[in-house]
């Protein structure tokens, strides 16, 4: 049973999506650590260390995601979490932007997978299973 850390980063209080993500991941048999809204990078990293998580799912809805996620990969590596997969989704930038651009920016920042607004979480579940089982 894989452990994944989920939460909403930065000064973001959108609480609905993460609750459903938790629910769905649990139904799929994951051990889910939900650190909730208004979580800092440190909160994610500490939770991942403590629970020996294999993946971190960062949710960001409110638009400041790009700034909040800066150096997250580097900070993970520094904390010894280079092996932990990084996912990000929600409305991760300000405004309606071309998603290919956005995806590239976040991949450059070190995220393994980047999801556009309104992604069906079931879709991501398939990816997580894939990524963690081959890892």
């Amino acid at each position: 049973m894989h452990t994944v850390v989920i939460g909403v980063i930065g000064a973001d209080v959108h609480a609905v999506g993460i609750r459903i993500i938790e629910h769905v991941l649990r139904k799929h048999g994951f051990n889910v650590v939900n650190i909730g809204v208004l979580s800092s990078q440190e909160d994610f990293i500490n939770a991942a260390i403590e629970t020996n998580a294999k993946a971190i799912l960062v949710s960001s809805l409110y638009g400041h995601g790009e700034m909040d996620c800066k150096y997250m990969k580097e900070n993970c590596e520094e904390a010894g979490l280079s092996h932990v997969k990084l996912y990000v989704g929600g409305n991760i930038v300000v405004g309606k932007q071309d998603f290919k651009d956005v995806e590239q920016r976040f991949k450059k920042m070190g995220f393994d997978r980047v999801y556009p607004p309104g992604t069906d979480i079931e879709e991501a579940v398939e990816h997580i299973k894939e990524d963690l089982n081959t890892a």
């Binding site: 459903i20 629910h23 799929h28 405004g95």
Partner: protein, 492 residues
Amino acid sequence: MVQNKKIPWEEFLAKREEIRLHWQTGQSELLDFETAVERLKNVPDEKNFALKLRKAKEEGLTLTQPRAGVALIDDHVALLKYLAEEGEADLLPSTIDSYTRQNRYANAEDAIKQSEKQKRSMLNGFPAVNYGVEGGMRVLDETPVPIQARHGTPDARLLSEIIHAAGWTSNEGGGISYNIPYAKNISLSDTIRYWQYCDRLVGYYAEQGIEINREPFGPLTGTLVPPSISHTIAIIEAILAAEQGVKNITVGYGQCGNINQDIAALQTLDSLTNYYLKLFGYEDVYVTTVFHQWMGGFPKDESKALGIISLASAVAALGKATKMITKTPHESEGIPTKEANAEGLKASKIVTRILKEQRYSSSKELEAEKELIKKEVNAMLYATLNVGKGDFAAGVVEAFKQGILDIPFAPSEVNAGKIMPARDAEGNIRLLEFGNLPFDDEIKTYHKNALKKRGEKENREVSFQMTIDDIYAVSRGNLVGKQDPLKEFKTP
């Protein structure tokens, strides 16, 4: 223990000195009361939010107001101008960014710099504290209609000082409505005190003959909130504001989706707020209402988004909401472009104007729904007053602790989070789990039966899965969530 008592003037002034130190713009001389009063007195009537609302209510009009705010002031002014001219907005907002809402002014400052460099807004709103009174004045002076700050700030004291001194004659927020949906672990006593301060400020201006509008944030989490719950919070916040001397209050409500329930909600919002204000001794408060277009997840398709926006406008107009906060075809994606924002405004405008001479007729169903809302609101208000030993401020803190007040899907740990809503067969929002809400058996049976009927119709159990389906429903083009039989969960 926080209490519903007008803040003594000396205490207020002392606090004020302290608050002005929170960020450098707090030290502007324009914040001195004499200057601010002068400034506010010179705001022309047609740019006074409170007066424009009064006029609209008398004429039976529903005014349109968008959300809008960007990091850089030049862009912000241009945006607001465009929304007034091309979008025909009757009222303007300045939506404040999320760093400012968390009082992280240094973060906001960084983001302003980054936005300048990258030539695009890196903030989800206008950082009004960083731009100070001077910035706020410029925004008001260069735009043609009244301006309101809209945010979600637990501690908006400095922000409120700045915007009012700049001549903005309305402020959204409240000690409950800007805490529970917008924070994780800030104490309710604190936020109630912060907002008593903001209201006291407006009360002070009222004493100087300046009418400023205050608006509790109606929709709360925007996610399947039953009308009676948002009404109860709105009424309590109206009472708390009135105690501090506020004379012009707009109570709000977010579209549920069933038209009968929505109209019942709008009508009772007005009547109950007036009723309880008077009951508790606040005689001379002018009450108006605001209807929020669908606050939950939107469909991706822009035409469909405009469909929902227009439907909401019809409900607002038929329910005689005094104003309506509009959404945009970009809602599901991100902060809208100015064009998308104007599209939402224009679709809204024509629908409200076409329907302005019409009202929703009374019917058995409407009266039944109104009765239910009234009973529920009454139950929650009296239970709150009871645990507060006769004081609403103290009562709120205790009521949330006990789950007598409980808001679905709130991020706050102060909130019990024990109730669970779901739609009945006609799309009315009902309750699946009551937590500790002080409802009698008659009310509970009503909810249970309604949900049972849906279960029978859909041939499935009444459960949290319904709630999840309902959360997704509108974004997928329905109101009552459909179970997806193809989607079976398998364990990895």
